[in-house]
């Protein structure tokens, strides 16, 4: 049957890409393999009559999250792992044994699912449609939804404060507009030499006082 064939194709693609991701030494290649896993999983979601989740999978996972990961890989200029470390020697068999235990556990669960007595209802259902997901999300599960938005806010603040470049900076050092602006308490007070208050009327005047030549000024002069 067609669905069986499609399942075999996409499941094989997912498992192959996952193994390639783990076996790959170059992080960039692993990231691309992970995108393959995400896309084949999205195809499986379509076969499971969940088109909304499939679309979100492609947009959020294969789009946003993987772009973030690849951006960080390229930002940090990660090289391939070169040396085979001492740690791997006993970790590899340990990983295989743990994986075997996990698979055995899952086979037990699968067996109990197959022998259960539940029979699904009619074939007609609107389970995966966007409207039914929206109704569920905004009625029964409104509180988890709101908590999720707070979680995202926390993630924004946390990521910004973690990735900020902390460092001591003198008050008189130049701060170019568009560069990272540091909090005043990080600034080193020893660098203060002239504390005379200065009043300026325009931005261009202030820029000239600070020694920052704005592009507009140089255009006007030249």
């Amino acid at each position: 049957m067609v669905t069986t064939l499609l399942f075999v194709i996409f499941a094989g693609l997912a498992i192959g890409c996952a193994i390639a991701m783990v076996a790959q030494r170059n992080p960039l290649y692993s990231a691309i393999s992970l995108v393959g896993v995400f896309i084949s999983l999205a195809s499986l979601y379509v076969m499971l009559a969940a088109p909304f989740i499939a679309a979100v999978q492609v947009i959020v996972y294969a789009g946003a999250i993987m772009v973030l990961v690849i951006f960080v890989i390229m930002l940090l200029n990660v090289e391939e792992e070169e040396r085979p470390s001492r740690r791997l020697r006993f970790l590899l068999p340990a990983a295989v044994i743990l994986a075997a235990v996990l698979i055995a556990e899952v086979i037990f669960v699968l067996w109990s699912v197959q022998t259960s007595l539940y029979t699904p209802g009619s074939n007609v259902s609107d389970t995966g449609l966007t409207s039914s997901i929206g109704i569920g999300l905004f009625t029964t599960y409104l509180l988890p939804f709101e908590i999720t938005s707070i979680l995202l806010l926390m993630a924004i603040v946390g990521a910004m404060s973690l990735a900020r470049r902390a460092g001591v900076m003198t008050v008189t050092s130049r701060v170019v507009p568009g560069a990272q602006v540091l909090a005043m308490d990080i600034a080193d007070p020893r660098g203060v030499s002239d504390e005379t208050p200065v009043a300026t009327a325009t931005t261009a005047q202030a820029a000239r006082l600070l020694g920052v030549e704005s592009k507009q000024d140089s255009n006007e002069q030249g």
């Binding site: 996952a18 991701m21 999983l41 979601y45 960080v72 569920g136």
Partner: protein, 101 residues
């Protein structure tokens, strides 16, 4: 006869196991991070499979929330990775074994 629920569960189990093995044997922080994403996706597949089997939308709502958590984890985790790299000049987990930057 199309694909059964148990097929999807088996696929999900295999993917999750590959993710666990990856987290154990990888030394690169970003590699471990991607293996965790793989495990989250395996669990998502289980949720969607059960949801479509029982004709209940709750499983797909859970997938939605898991994706949000994964996005938040990606943002914060990559922030931590950048902070560690800035201080240690390395992404090896063995080099970052003490709990301070």
């Amino acid at each position: 006869m199309g694909p059964q629920l148990s097929w999807y569960l088996a696929l999900s189990a295999v993917l999750f196991t590959i993710g666990v093995v990856g987290v154990i044997i990888k030394r690169n922080v970003i590699g471990m991070f991607m293996c965790i994403e793989l495990m989250l996706n395996a669990v998502n597949l289980t949720f969607v499979g059960f949801s479509s089997y029982f004709r209940d939308v709750t499983g797909q709502l859970f997938v939605f929330i898991v994706m949000t958590v994964a996005a938040a984890e990606a943002a914060v985790g990559l922030g931590i990775i950048i902070a560690i790299f800035r201080n240690r000049e390395s992404l090896d987990v063995d080099d970052a074994s003490i709990l301070r930057l």
